[in-house]
Structure formats: structure tokens, C-alpha cells
Symmetry: C2
Subunit: 215 residues, 2 copies
């Protein structure tokens, strides 16, 4: 068993974080507020279980006037999924070109991966779970983007092993162990935890790159 980050005392899972990279700079537009509130509702109630009326209610607008900013629930889902996959791909491309060791590249990639989960928790959760409701053509685009990220991630691990920096671990096993290892953050992290986001990143990266055992 049985991942249950909310099983230990003092944990309150399922609460999104309030900082959103989307609106970090300057005053958010109505459209941005609608997208952010929609992501929180999709995370809590699921994409299928959320109506445009629910979103309007959450934002405090009349449904009719919300349609001036957003055409449909489909448009919201598309925006959220591809915004998140674009950011992941951009991280990967940026890190591939940095003049760093493979160990430092992988540390940076994992750190960015965790940071996005912390800063845009509800959106990452929607991209992880509700992407399957994208229309067929867009679903293919999205899974292609995901595959590209995973292949780039695994290639970095394989290159590090070839260069003698990493142990001879199967790159696919290493990839999925890393991506899986950080998934509990989605259910657990919120501001005000005894552990800061930075400490959380440090501890997880220490475990995955250096191992739990002392050297």
C-alpha cells in the first residue's frame, strides 16, 4: 500500500496552492482568473463534474458575461493542458542546452518539475488527469508532447550513464521512478507546511540523485 499523504496527522490534502505562475506578474485579467478558478474546480470535482455555471459561480460572474472571455469548457481544458505541456517542454529544451554536468542537468530538471507542481498545483493536476477529455486530434498532440518530454528526460539519464556519471540503471525504470516519486506532492503540498517548497525539492532530489544511505 498505499500512498496516502493525508493519512498522517497534520496533513490536509486536496487543497490547491494560491500562487499561480500565470498571474504572478501584474494584475490578472478576467480570463486568467476564470482559467485559474476553473483549474481548481476541475481538480476538486473533475472535468466532467464541473459545469460552466459552477465556474461562473466561483468567479462571481454571470454565466452570460463569462462567455465574453471564454467560449467553452473545452477551450479551458485545452488551454490548461497545453500551457502545462509547453512549460515542461521549454524546461527540457532549456536544460538540454545548459553547459552543466548530467547530474546538474537532472537536478535542475527535477527541481523545475517539482516547482511547477507547487506553483500551479491545480493546473498540473488537470493536465495529469483530465487530458483524456481533449478531443481526439488535440489528445494526440498532447500525448505526443508528453512522450517528447519523457523521451528527452530518459535520454538525459542514458547520456549520464554513458558518460559514467550515473549508475547503470535502466533509463526507463529511472525515468518512471523519478516521475512517480514526485507525484505525491500533488496531493500533499500547500503553503504553510512545516517544510518549505525549497526544502521539499532538496530532500527529494537528495534521495533520487544521492540516495537515502550515507556515502
Amino acid at each position: 500500500m498505499l500512498l496516502s499523504p493525508n493519512a498522517l496527522p497534520g496533513y490536509h490534502a486536496g487543497q490547491g496552492v494560491s500562487v499561480c505562475t500565470m498571474i504572478k506578474n501584474g494584475k490578472p485579467t478576467k480570463r486568467q482568473i476564470i482559467l485559474e478558478e476553473a483549474a481548481k474546480l476541475f481538480k476538486d470535482k473533475g472535468y466532467v463534474g464541473t459545469s460552466m455555471r459552477d465556474i461562473a459561480g466561483q468567479v462571481g460572474m454571470e454565466a452570460a458575461s463569462m462567455y465574453n472571455h471564454i467560449k467553452s469548457k473545452d477551450e479551458i481544458l485545452d488551454h490548461i493542458c497545453f500551457r502545462i505541456s509547453d512549460i515542461y517542454i521549454a524546461h527540457l529544451q532549456e536544460i538540454e542546452e545548459l553547459p552543466l554536468s548530467y547530474g546538474e542537468k537532472l537536478r535542475t530538471l527535477i527541481r523545475r518539475h517539482i516547482q511547477l507542481m507547487i506553483e500551479d498545483g491545480p493546473e498540473v493536476s488537470v493536465a495529469n488527469h483530465d487530458y483524456k477529455y481533449l478531443p481526439a486530434a488535440r489528445l494526440t498532440d498532447f500525448t505526443d508532447a508528453r512522450r517528447r518530454y519523457e523521451k528527452g528526460f530518459a535520454a538525459l539519464i542514458a547520456a549520464g550513464t554513458a558518460a559514467g556519471e550515473f549508475q547503470s540503471v535502466n533509463p526507463t525504470v529511472a525515468l518512471f521512478t523519478i516521475l512517480s516519486a514526485v507525484r505525491w506532492i500533488e496531493l500533499w503540498f500547500k503553503p504553510g507546511r512545516s517544510l518549505s517548497a525549497q526544502e521539499l525539492e532538496d530532500h527529494i532530489i537528495t534521495m533520487l540523485l544521492n540516495g537515502l544511505e550515507n556515502r
Copy 2:
């Protein structure tokens, strides 16, 4: 993003494994066959989406004669959930008493944890996802058992850190990182993979205990 063990070529997720510890020794009884087939159906279609008629069809029995062996769907769910939690607790208690270093204890505990996922994939999946359909009193028993396992697991990590064997990683972060890190196996592993179960265990344990980077 975005754990998708089935996104890379050659992967076929969602297929259970055929070896079941429950029926390893000797010829399985009718009841054991019903429980095993029910677990596969619950994993594929969900507990709510599976009927007693579906289970009878899968086993190749008349529904009426199946009731000679199993009273209800509730009884099946209860049996599966508590059989799995009993095994996890037994592993923990056995390992706590072994005369080993904390590193060896943790290696053994992670290995047993992975082995149960591989040997009884559908049952572990049901205990992970469908436990929430247990009636209230049994749900409390089950979450108490899970908490006991998680607390014992975290205590082992904390003791290893106190003894100077492990790095100073927050025991809660280490616990959930380890339990989360192995969850992708549930979607990915089936017999006939290019990687054996033993290799899979070895590679994951190497990453979590020794770290990906060479020492």
C-alpha cells in the same frame, strides 16, 4: 507531467499479472478463483462498475451457484483489502525484528512491497483505489492499518537517520517519495517484460538507497 508508463513504445499498461500468491500452493478452490477474477475485474472496470453477474461470467459459473462460495461484492472487497493490508503489516513486523542494519531492513521492506505489487497486482490495485467503498467501520480499520504501516516505515527511516546510516532527510518526505516511486509498477509490470521482476526491484532499490549518481 505526467506519469504514463504506457506512453513509450512497447508498453502495455493495465494488464494484470497471472501469478497470484493466494493460489501459489496447490490447486485453487472455487472461492479463491472467484476472488482472483473479481480483483482483475475491479482493477479494470472499478468496484462500482463490476456486478456479481460480471464476476460469475468471468469465472464461468451461474450467478446462483457462485453465491454458495461468496455472499456479496462487499465480502469480496473486504477480503481483498484486508488480505493485502495484513500482508504489508506482517512484512513490517517481520522486518522490524530482523538482526539487520537499517539500510538492509529498508531494502528488504521495499523489495517485499514491490514483490507484492508484482505477484498480486490486481489485488494491490483494488486495495489502493477501491478501499474507499468499504463500509464505515471497516474503512476505519483499513485506514488504521495503512497508517500503522506508514508510521512503522517512517520510523525505520528516522531510526536509520538517528543511527547515522541515512542522510538527514525528512522521514515523511522519504516515506512518501519511496511509496510514490514504486506506484508506476502497478500500471507497467507484466511477465515477459525485457526486465525481470528481480532486475526491476534491484534498479529501483539502487536509485532510492544509493542514488542515481555514481559515488
